[in-house]
């Protein structure tokens, strides 16, 4: 039967003091479909999730959610209740205990107990049953720490599914995955669909909606803009629904003329700092021109982050090879040294590596630049404010003042703060490791524009990206990495997604 509805949102409204997070939201999800949920940050997606998971229990919002024929009534803080009802959630950040096994993680908090002690045999055999049922390629006894990101994700899904789930909600499940791993996830989701599990799929990556979903609901400012079958949509239409305006292009066109080569890396080899016999870089060669945007593509684990961190002097032990800046061979001892030589790094994962979240925007921006305002005895705090204000204005950071904590900002603005902090030092080369991960379309566009502006000012930008479209849309040339080696340097004009994938997977 075609109209078997599992989830029916009826006029759901959720208000916080001063803000309406959801306003009169109504849409339906059919049993067994993969339903995409799409919207900019702050559009209300996560509020909706929190209603489904019981973080906001029934009674704290208006309207009704009909789940499997009955009104969903979750009581306060009864997150377990949602799980019992068969609603499972996989959060954006992994929630596994790295030192425990897959089985221990899956049954964390619901271990099978017999005579007051854990029945380990049952735990592991039950784990195996779940893994087999959902065709997940991991072993119950594997320690999570030793797994790759994609297998961790599988564990996460298995954990969510462990109680005969009917609805699985995935919140940006691919933000940490590389292309091949995403393929694998899509396969798993299709498998789940065959088993009759309904999926609510939230992502910022346009193409994933078209690859996997049956219907897409678009939220904007807490309201449902539309629910449509995916086959009737195009990426352009979807973006237009999301931002509420026609966005002509996702990548702004720059107007730049890259100059001479200013930076060269030749046959760089480097070892894992914790395990010196393990080589993570096995020969990387590329060059960078003044005012150029160079994209670095490659699968997760291909050594992209290790490469830029090694250049920045903060990761691996360089064992062989040369780095030349403006024709001079340089040796970079640490991040401070790199900065003084004019190389800045916007690291991956801004919350973990980029920001001191509890501190103000001002303190975050000035942190690597305090030498400029300070003598041994004191920091000239007025100068610090003036300079930070200037750069914040330049990057159009939206915040009530520079004194609010970085954690209160949206993802896009947080990323701008990280960029600001690294631009203030006036770098010649700005390395950005996955700068648009987890931020919404509008904010991405602003970051892209900013990158173009910087390149036009003569700053050379190296951009790591997991999204091939982004690499192709933004860079002048693309360096593709494969298993610690540079496996090709293409002009973007001559590159295609297929060519890059072939180089990244090592077929070409």
């Amino acid at each position: 039967m075609s109209e078997d509805i599992i989830l029916d949102f009826q006029n759901v409204t959720k208000t916080f003091p001063g803000v309406t997070a959801l306003s009169d939201v109504s849409f339906t999800v059919r049993r067994g479909e993969i339903h995409g949920l799409c919207g900019e940050n702050g559009a209300g997606k996560s509020t909706l999730m929190k209603i489904l998971s019981g973080v906001y229990p029934s009674g704290t919002y208006e309207g009704k959610v009909i789940y499997d024929g009955k009104e969903l009534k979750l009581e306060s803080s009864a997150i377990h209740q949602a799980v019992e009802e068969g609603i499972a959630i996989v959060y954006q950040e992994l929630t596994l205990v790295p030192t425990m096994t897959v089985g221990e993680n899956i049954f964390l908090g619901k271990e099978p107990v017999e005579r007051r002690s854990i029945n380990w045999d049952k735990l592991y055999s039950d784990t195996q049953t779940i893994l087999t049922k959902y065709k997940l390629d991991i072993l119950p006894q594997d320690v999570v720490r030793d797994l790759g990101v994609s297998k961790m994700q599988m564990t996460e899904i298995a954990k969510a599914l462990s109680e005969n789930a009917k609805v699985l909600i995935l919140d940006e499940p691919t933000s940490a995955l590389a292309a091949a791993e995403i393929d694998k996830l899509m396969e798993i989701l299709r498998g789940l669909k065959e088993l009759g599990v309904t999926c609510l799929y939230i992502t910022h990556k346009m193409d994933e909606f078209f690859r996997i979903t049956d219907n897409v609901t678009v939220l904007r400012d807490g309201k449902v803009v539309t629910t449509q079958p995916t086959k009737d949509l195009t990426p352009e239409k979807l973006v237009a629904y999301m931002v509420g305006r026609e966005m002509k292009e996702r990548f702004p066109k720059g107007n730049r003329q890259p100059g001479d080569v200013i930076f060269e890396v030749q046959d760089l080899h480097a070892a894992d700092p914790n395990k010196e016999d393990r080589e993570v870089l096995k020969g990387v060669t590329f060059d960078l021109r003044k005012g150029e945007i160079l994209g670095i593509a490659g699968l997760m684990g291909s050594g992209r982050t290790e490469l830029v961190m090694s250049i920045f002097g903060e990761y691996a032990k360089i064992t062989k090879g040369h780095i030349k800046l403006e024709g001079q061979e340089i040796k970079i001892k640490n991040g401070h040294d790199a900065m003084q030589k004019g190389i800045s790094l916007v690291p991956e994962d801004r919350k973990r590596y980029g920001l001191v979240l509890i501190q103000s925007i001002l303190k975050n921006i000035s942190l690597p630049n305090l030498d400029r305002f300070a003598s041994f005895m004191r920091i000239e705090q007025n100068a610090e404010v003036v300079e930070s204000l200037r750069i914040a204005k330049e990057l159009a950071i939206k915040a009530p003042s520079l004194h609010v904590a970085a954690e209160t900002l949206s993802g896009g603005n947080q990323q701008k703060v990280v960029i600001a902090k690294w631009l203030l030092s006036g770098p010649k080369i700005l390395i950005m490791d996955d700068p648009t991960r987890g931020i919404d379309v509008g904010a991405k566009y602003e970051i892209y524009k900013l990158m173009n502006d910087l390149a036009e000012q003569g700053i050379s930008v190296i951009m790591i990206s997991s999204e091939l479209e982004e690499v192709l849309g933004m860079s002048d040339r693309v360096m593709v990495m494969c298993q610690g080696r540079s496996n090709g340097l293409l002009k973007t004009a001559e590159a295609t997604q297929e060519k890059i994938m072939a180089l990244a997977t090592g077929i070409a």
């Binding site: 920045f312 640490n334 991040g335 401070h336 001191v356 979240l357 501190q359 690597p368 300070a374 007025n382």
Partner: protein, 393 residues
């Protein structure tokens, strides 16, 4: 009014602790029928807090970076017996009848021993990467052994002239007033210079009244304190340890707010990885913090030896508890990244207030321990509660 309410909400932690202090004082004042607020007791109270609070100023930075130092009490104790040893049986043979030279050398030795010990701990923690908890716990055992070794189980007198002034002396009343006026003048000077500098950069200034009121308020506190201790008939004047503590607190407040060293410490505690990737030498910073902690423990040890008048095997025992408790009461977060020196000073004052108050009521030591423990947990509990409610609103 709305602004005031907002400011209150923002600084709720600071106010909670000040209110707690006032409540404790009122309770004791009533229980002792006013005896608690006599010049004699106020004079004693601040002197009692000085040894542990000098160390609490350093502990704030240690905890802010996510570390801990369990050895401070024993280190101060060890320094006190070393200093007592030199006072009692060395200087009289090398420099007979030169109490000033002897005292000066004792101070230098005390500071030196503390700093070197702190540097050793800092090196192992920062560069050899052994967790601070373990290093300082081990160090605590070692210091206990060294104290036994140094004292041979006996009590060493450290009550020689001049040296005993450090812990027991008072600044003459007139000098006290001159110092007070200087500090007040400095307070107003920095207030106005700060405004002028801000103006030069074109920043909006807070209302003049607000800044002046602030300076007047702090000046009034100082004047009240000095007037009280100067009116203590038996021993008028500001106790020297309190002067030392004031200087330590002022310098440390400046260091935490206005230097790179201070700023980096908070950043390390807030997010170690992000700070490292910002090109900051984390190891050096942590090493310096432990060296500073050692220096302050040395200073506390000197005051301790001089105040008690001898070095004993029990010197400094359990002080680390008061030091850490004071810092945490004052709002230092064990999660790292948050904490202030003035807060820790008020925290230390609360701990000392409880000790002296219960002493006056002739409560047995057992009661004092229990009350201190309860107050510490209660304070943090209240803080957790307020944070929850204020973040919800």
């Amino acid at each position: 009014m709305n602004n005031l309410a907002q400011a209150f909400r923002k600084n709720i932690q600071t106010y909670t602790i000040i209110i707690a202090l006032i409540v404790i004082w009122i309770i004791f004042a009533v229980a002792t029928q006013g005896g608690y607020l006599t010049p004699q007791n106020i004079s004693n109270l601040f002197r009692q807090m000085s040894v542990t609070s000098i160390m609490a100023a350093g502990m704030v930075l240690v905890i802010v970076t996510g570390g801990i130092d369990l050895s401070v009490g024993r280190l101060a104790g060890f320094v006190s017996v070393v200093v007592a040893f030199f006072q009692a049986s060395r200087w009289n043979t090398v420099f007979p009848n030169q109490p000033a030279v002897a005292a000066l050398l004792s101070v230098l030795i005390g500071l030196g021993v503390g700093t070197v010990w702190g540097m050793g701990q800092g090196y192992i923690i920062a560069y050899l990467r052994v967790p601070a908890f373990i290093v300082t716990l081990g160090s605590m055992f070692i210091l206990q052994g060294l104290i036994l070794l140094q004292t041979e189980g006996k009590t060493i007198p450290a009550n020689q002239p001049i040296f005993s002034e450090i812990g027991q002396g008072y600044l003459p009343a007139t000098l006290g007033w001159i110092l007070t006026l200087t500090v007040i003048a400095l307070l107003f000077f920095t207030t106005f210079r700060g405004r002028r500098n801000k103006q030069k950069y074109g920043f909006p200034l807070p209302p003049l009244v607000q800044d002046v009121m602030k300076a007047v308020f702090f000046s009034a506190l100082i004047v009240i304190y000095v007037a009280l201790v100067n009116s203590y008939k038996v021993a008028p004047g500001i106790p020297y340890p309190v002067l030392l503590l004031g200087a330590v607190a002022a310098v440390m407040t400046y260091v935490t707010n206005n230097t790179r060293f201070g700023r980096y410490s908070y950043a390390i505690g807030g997010n170690r990885e992000a700070t490292r990737l910002s090109g900051i030498n984390i190891r050096k910073n942590i090493f310096l913090i432990f060296a500073l902690m050692g220096f302050l423990s040395g200073l506390a040890g000197i005051v301790l030896a001089s105040y008690v008048g001898y070095g004993t095997i029990g010197a400094g025992g359990g002080y680390e508890l008061d030091v850490i408790a004071g810092a945490i009461l004052g709002g230092t977060s064990t999660m790292g990244g948050v904490g202030t020196i003035p807060g820790a000073m008020i925290g230390g004052l609360i701990m000392a207030s409880l000790s002296t108050g219960l002493q006056m009521l002739n409560a047995p030591p057992a009661t004092t321990y229990v009350v201190k423990g309860v107050v510490l947990i209660l304070a943090v509990l209240l803080d957790v509660y307020f944070k929850k409610t204020s973040s919800k609103a």
